[in-house]
Subunit: 408 residues, 2 copies
């Protein structure tokens, strides 16, 4: 992609109405545009990142045996009245049609997916099974000042699963947990799993996936040897204590932000929608249901909070909009040749070929946009190309062959 | 994909509340599930088809130089008040938040995309340019009884372009027209372009893309030699007349359904949002704007209306959920081997390996689901595999090598 043609160039100043690092950088660098608080347009750069994160999530959900579907955002009021959500859930957007019908906008999809599962599943032999979607949620948040971390409209991956026994749910949850940890790792993040309370409708435990970052909203304590992790607010222990789980490691304190959760929904929704099956002995039972969420744009925001410096974003390779940012500093024909060579090798490259923009601005834009590798072609470098990783200080002069070798 | 594991099996009966062929077949075959009138969940099979249609559209829009973005569905009332749409557009869903803020749900995106373009484009040198998205639209339709042909929530590709002159817009429109005709052709459809009135806000001409199908809602007259086409309702000519455009061909009558449109928006929106640029002489002008829509789910519905028989759907290859439907009629080990071979060759295959289902039901399901090629493995066929195209009557016994050769 030639930068001169890209819609959504960098801005000189960070937006005054954004207070978080993720929103300041993503708006300034041309990834997103704010329509109103908590509601963003994804510009071409931002959509590329969003798609990459979505595909990572999709691959891991497919690997779990999850089947992808796409449920509507516009719901009849009746399904929300049936579960009590119509009156109890304060973030639920409500709409009256011109023919006086009542609708809700999906803030989650238990109310749609449970009757759907009931319609197509008639035997205990079909259990366990899981469905997921990557779709937009709508929430009437009172405040939405955290950029992509809290939206009024935002893309989310939500998966739902059904089980014959609690044990089977727990087994499946362990698999989902490993898939989630893999997703975060592929996105360049380290996650810890904490127990939390179970949300609006259940006394059961839920799990939160906390990403370690100084920009986090919560303090957590985690063991340096086992998986134990707890929110400091509810912890009985303190930093430096021996881990109460493994009795070996020590507790370390860290700041973290939530970027995923799991709810054990029990039989709440299967009972509400009368989704009943018979077991091998012919005895009726209501399946146990789990719900597993990852806010996709929130994850994008968390990555930026974690991977940024004073100059801009530093994308992990797997989610970068382009692998390479190529700058021409006055050796146009040669730069064009390099660009074509990179395209030919199917390397994703953003090519800053602007003629009326100085070197300083081009360097600043490249640092702000944050592609993993910056290549500079100039008269001074002659046949050599300057290679620099966004996350490192040192640069090197390499031949085209050496560069292609490294990018392969 | 193994059919026993697929979520969303075929139903025995067509739904009673659906009156159109597209909805009856798509629901019965397990592609979509109706949440309420005009609002459908896409099941795994349906999502596969939708994604294929979207990718065809995406490729053709990218080839035009269109840049993909993603705009929100939740809009502040203010932008709709600015253009007059808040009061004039009767299908606009309106929402009041719990803090008494007014929102609208996007029924189209001129109100979002025009201020967006204004924010990032500051020179006439950036014209012409175009942005598009594939996103869900919400419309408060009084009636929604046509299945996927008219939805209250539905995926749409909408592109917008900006131009310095009317001539430049016309040139761009010609390119879009060719891209649209290519999209329909790739989806197995033949489209004709007719002139129509310009919608709510303009006296200008708009263009509609009409797909020839007996299930259509409109009668059109088109020339059998040139591109001329007109809605019969406003035609001065009749079937058999000499074409008034080329003076050579004769007018043929056909039934058709609309599956795309183009609006010349003039300066309506650029004036409303004060999107003004200076030309090469420094003179201010408001860019001319075009809007180009294709309802993606509508297109899916039209394909089904066009390509179906009394047994079910007959998907064109490019949009079929799977290239091959493999049936095991009692030669399990060999069928499994064929399945693995097809997967290895990256051929998309739906494998009906159910053991408790008879041959008749499997054949009926395959015809209903409508994958382009059906393969049957049975004891009677021994090493040979029965090959049959969904759209043809004849079947053949072939070796695995011959089949792989044909599918390549």
């Amino acid at each position: 992609m030639k930068y001169s043609q890209l819609f959504g160039k960098t801005k000189k100043l960070a937006p005054k109405d954004e207070i978080t690092v993720n929103a300041q950088l993503l708006v300034k660098a041309g990834y997103v545009n704010k329509l109103m608080a908590g509601v963003y347009t994804y510009l071409p750069l931002g959509l590329r990142v969003l798609n990459k994160i979505e595909n990572i999530i999709r691959e891991e959900m497919d690997a779990l045996g999850g089947q992808e579907i796409f449920m509507p955002a516009l719901h009849p009021a009746t399904i929300w009245q049936k579960t009590g959500g119509w009156d109890k859930i304060d973030v639920l957007f409500k709409i009256k049609s011109r023919t006086e019908r009542d609708y809700a906008l999906g803030q989650s999809h238990e109310e749609v997916v449970t009757p759907l599962a009931k319609e197509y599943v008639s035997s205990y032999k079909d259990l366990p099974f899981s469905l997921y979607q990557i779709q937009f949620k709508f929430r009437d948040e009172l405040r939405a000042k955290s950029g992509l971390l809290r939206g009024r409209e935002f893309p989310m991956k939500d998966m739902y699963s059904w089980h014959q026994t609690q044990e089977d749910f727990e087994n499946f949850y362990e698999k989902v947990k490993r898939a989630y940890l893999k997703i975060y790792e592929r996105c360049g993040l380290t996650a810890k799993v904490t127990e939390a309370s179970g949300g609006s409708f259940t006394q059961k435990i839920s799990y939160e996936f906390m990403i370690l970052t100084d920009a986090g909203e919560d303090d957590i304590l985690y063991c340096n040897q086992c998986e134990y992790c707890i929110n400091q607010q509810i912890a009985q222990s303190k930093e430096g204590d021996v881990c109460s789980k493994c009795n070996q490691g020590k507790l370390v304190k860290g700041r973290a932000v939530e970027a995923g959760n799991v709810f054990d929904l029990g039989q709440k929704y299967t009972k509400d929608f009368d989704f009943e099956l018979a077991n091998e002995k012919g005895e009726k039972f209501y399946p146990i249901m789990g719900c597993y969420g990852i806010g996709v744009s929130r994850l994008m925001g968390v990555i930026v909070e974690k991977w940024a410096d004073e100059k801009g974003i530093i994308w992990p390779e797997a989610v970068a909009p382009f692998a390479v940012h190529l700058l021409d500093l006055g050796n146009k024909d040669y730069a064009e040749e390099i660009y074509q060579q990179l395209l030919k090798q199917k390397i994703e490259v953003l090519y800053d070929e602007r003629e009326d923009i100085g070197a300083g601005q081009k360097f600043a834009d490249a640092d702000l946009i944050g592609c993993p590798v910056r290549l500079v072609v100039s008269q001074r470098n002659r046949e050599k190309i300057e290679w620099k990783k966004r996350k490192e200080e040192k640069s090197e002069l390499l031949s085209l062959e050496e560069i292609l070798e490294r990018l392969r």
